[in-house]
Amino acid sequence: MSKKPEDLKLIDENGRRIDGRKPDELRPVKIKAGPLYRADGSCYIEWGNNKILAAVYGPKETLPRHEQHPLKAIVNARYNMASFSVEERKRPGPDRRSIEISKVVGEALEHIILVEKLPRATIDINIEVLDADAGTRCAGLTAAAVALADAGIPMRDIPVACSAGKVDGQVVLDLCKEEDNYGEADMPVAIAPRKKEILLLQMDGHLTPQEFDEALELAIKGCEIVSKLQKEALLEKYIKEVGRENE
């Protein structure tokens, strides 16, 4: 939410956004399940210009043993940006932003994993942002959810995330970079789609309670669209594997 250049219009006279989208339109999203060989589960997502890989290892025994939880699995999420994924090279290693995102994404995903069925175990979730545009935490969480399913981790549902926000006074879906920089509010939301439980919710900017309701509804609508793409990606991988086994 930087200061907007005065002549910058983010919504034109036809109600179109700076990248030509309608207010409730998502950027193009492509999802592929299982692209990696070593990981127990993996997913590659392209969401607008974001390119993100997620990999899951586990469940495996928590080591050292004194860190085991006797009643449930420990879920570790690590969100990382490749140093070349942003305009100005980022120093490798976690910064404060990626530590916070790792925390909120990990907490959101933990809710949906049947951790109580996997005592003393650890599940490691790795999210690598290879090319970054706005909305990496939503895209990364969405990919991580597919990777968890691909790894066969028992889950109550497949979480999914999408952001909504406010741009030039208008509530819009899935902010792009310019909208994120110069808009009035950005609100990433993750849900468990089956019961519409809210798993992740952050907001910065300025929303009236009415705008918040509108934005939340829009974000959930976006989540539901992406949720279908997640399931198609998993199905496609499943069909391929069955096909291979039947050869």
Binding site: I198, P209, L216
Partner: protein, 269 residues
């Protein structure tokens, strides 16, 4: 935090209390703990405030130093927020660089102040592109009994509202008040456990909490920031109810803040 060490017995007891519509410290679910704000207590700091929220005690100190602006905002001062969960405050806190809890705390407090433009950073430019004031907000948690988000945010804001620009220390004339631009947002935190939602959780509630939601609102009742935490979920209706309660509590807290920082009439610098 340290969930695994709390006995299941305690959790069950608190769930039972919740079913009977009671909290472990006797408060109602929409009742904030007694709040006390004291400012100007650290002589060496440019601004300072101590917040006591129940047994939770936070000290925030503001220091201003001079440095280079960021290349993309050459005309603006720089704001940087740091939180230290020092071992003094809790047996669970360990010495060392900030962990993910301290980082989340610092970033949430920082965003609340930054996005609302509480400080007028453009007035903190000394020489465009060369030299600006850097405002350091340092959150020192002294005694931890829950709800660090609200207490830290309030202490940071109270310290900023009463801080000065230390011109004298840099041979630049007389000290002046730190330029304030917008009315600060008031942060209000809720947790969910055993089917109930409680405002301003004490430590025992935080330990068993399933989900947490912090909502910062402005004096017009609009939402300025939200941060959901922990691995539980909220329904849409729960979020709406929380926002409503955050607006109500926010008004009461804002009154205490204004009184303790000499902004009783709500007038801004």
């Amino acid at each position: 935090m340290s969930e695994s060490v709390v006995s299941e017995i305690k959790r069950k007891y608190m769930h039972k209390l919740a079913q009977a519509n009671k909290r472990i410290d006797g408060r109602s679910f929409n009742e904030y703990r007694p709040l006390r704000i004291e400012t100007g207590i650290i002589k060496k700091a440019e601004g300072s405030a101590k917040v006591e929220l129940g047994n939770t005690k936070i000290l925030v100190g503001i220091k201003l130093e001079q440095g280079e602006p960021y290349p993309d905002t050459p005309d603006s001062g720089v704001l940087t927020t740091n939180a230290e969960l020092i071992p003094m405050a809790s047996p669970e806190f360990e010495a060392g660089p900030p962990d993910e809890n301290a980082i989340e705390l610092a970033r949430v407090v920082d965003r609340g102040i930054r996005e609302t433009e509480v400080i007028d950073l453009e007035k903190l430019c000394i020489e465009p592109g060369e030299k600006v004031w850097i405002v350091f907000i340092d959150i020192h948690v002294l005694d931890y009994d829950g709800n660090l988000f609200d207490a830290s945010s309030l202490a940071a804001i109270a310290a900023l509202l009463t801080a000065k620009v230390p011109n004298e220390r840099f041979d630049m004339g007389e000290d002046e008040p730190l330029p304030i631009k917008n009315d600060p947002p008031i942060s209000c935190t809720f947790v969910k456990y055993g089917g109930v939602i409680a405002v301003d959780p004490c430590l025992e509630e935080e330990i068993i909490a399933e989900a947490r939601l912090t909502v910062a609102t402005d004096k017009d009742g609009n939402i300025r920031a939200m941060q959901k935490g922990l691995s539980g979920s909220f329904t849409i209706d729960e979020v709406r109810k929380i926002i409503k309660a955050a607006v109500d509590n926010g008004a009461r807290i804002r009154k205490i803040l204004n009184e303790s920082t000499g902004r009783e009439n709500g007038k801004e610098n």
